[in-house]
Every structure is written in structure tokens, then in C-alpha cells.
């Protein structure tokens, strides 16, 4: 059962409150997503740490219910 866009956004927001999440359905199949996440919590973290914070929000769903998520992380200006 793939995750819907609103599920993905809610999952990221639960882990990173106040973040800005922009989602794009890459293939139009509700299964391959790109997320741009802008969050204060990323400040001072390396890219690997930032991406891990996003992946951590999904726990074991990553790679299972959530088949493909392209992640871009940004720190707000």
C-alpha cells in the first residue's frame, strides 16, 4: 500500500515540526515522490545527517510502503 502525498507530508511534519515540505509526484503514479524539506532543525548538520532526519521520520516504511522518495534538504535563510 503506497503512502499518499498527504501521509508523507504529515509524517515529515510530525518529526520536524515547523518544517516546510514541498512534494512532487515524479511519475504521476502516487508512488515515486520528491520532497524538498526546509527546516530550522537542519542548521549546523551535514547533508547526511539532514537526510537521515527525514528518513528517520518514516522508520521501517522507508523502502517498503514508501517505495521511492527523492530528498532535498534546505535550511531556511
Amino acid at each position: 500500500m503506497p503512502m499518499s502525498g498527504s501521509d508523507i507530508e504529515a509524517t515529515i511534519l510530525a518529526a520536524l515540526p515547523g518544517a516546510e515540505v514541498e512534494l512532487k509526484d515524479l511519475a504521476g503514479d502516487n508512488d515515486h515522490w520528491a520532497a524538498t524539506v526546509t527546516a530550522e532543525q537542519f542548521a549546523g548538520k551535514t547533508r547526511v545527517q539532514q537526510h537521515k532526519m527525514v528518513y528517520a521520520a518514516f522508520g521501517p516504511k522507508m523502502g517498503n510502503e514508501l517505495h521511492a522518495l527523492q530528498v532535498t534538504t534546505l535550511v531556511p535563510n
Binding site: 547533508r47 547526511v48 537521515k52 528518513y55
Partner: protein
């Protein structure tokens, strides 16, 4: 598990640049792996690839090895660099090429 850890650790230490991927550089089996290969080819570096689809133990073990849930995964000089998104961000910023230069990794034979 311990055994796959040992094998992964050996692979990333014996090769300057290693990509754990789905499929092979010629026949990638996933869009993300395909993108990672394209980036490495653009960087013009020699790399070793490991097809995780041929080895279930490595496929699971690599996720635990760097606490990173997805494939592909790039390692340079034994250090985990990131997945294909990070590779793309670094490549676009010129940081990936710079890192390969600084680490003194071998160029691809043309």
C-alpha cells in the same frame, strides 16, 4: 550480519570509490542507481560497483552499515558519502568532483 559487515567493510576499504547499487553500471535496475552511475561517469573517476540484487545479505547489511535505509550508497576512501540525492546536490555544487580530487582517487580509463 557480522559476516556481511566484514565483507562490506573489506570492499569499501579495498576500493577508493564504491557504489552499492541495484543492477550493474551497464544495466541499472532502478532510477536512483542509474542517476548515481551517471554522476560518477561525469566525474570521470574509476569506481567499483556492487549489485545488491545479487546478494540479499549485502542488500540488508548495507542499510545497517551506515544506518542509511536506501540504495544506492556511495563510499569514497571507506567513508559513506550519501545516496543519489546527496550525490546530485554535491555534483551540482562542484563539491563531489572537488572531494574526489582532494581524496586523490584514480581517474576512469577512457
Amino acid at each position: 550480519m557480522a559476516d556481511s559487515n566484514t565483507r562490506i567493510s573489506k570492499t569499501v576499504k579495498e576500493n577508493d570509490v564504491v557504489l552499492f547499487m541495484k543492477g550493474t553500471p551497464l544495466f541499472p535496475q532502478c532510477g536512483f542507481s542509474s542517476r548515481a552511475i551517471a554522476i560518477l561517469d561525469h566525474c570521470g573517476v574509476a569506481y567499483e560497483s556492487v549489485d545488491v540484487l545479487q546478494d540479499m545479505e549485502i542488500r540488508q547489511g548495507i542499510k545497517a552499515y551506515s544506518d542509511w535505509p536506501t540504495i544506492p550508497q556511495l563510499y569514497v576512501k571507506g567513508e559513506f558519502v550519501g545516496g543519489s540525492d546527496i550525490m546530485m546536490e554535491m555534483f551540482e555544487a562542484g563539491e563531489l568532483q572537488q572531494m574526489m580530487n582532494e581524496q586523490g582517487v584514480a581517474k576512469a580509463e577512457s
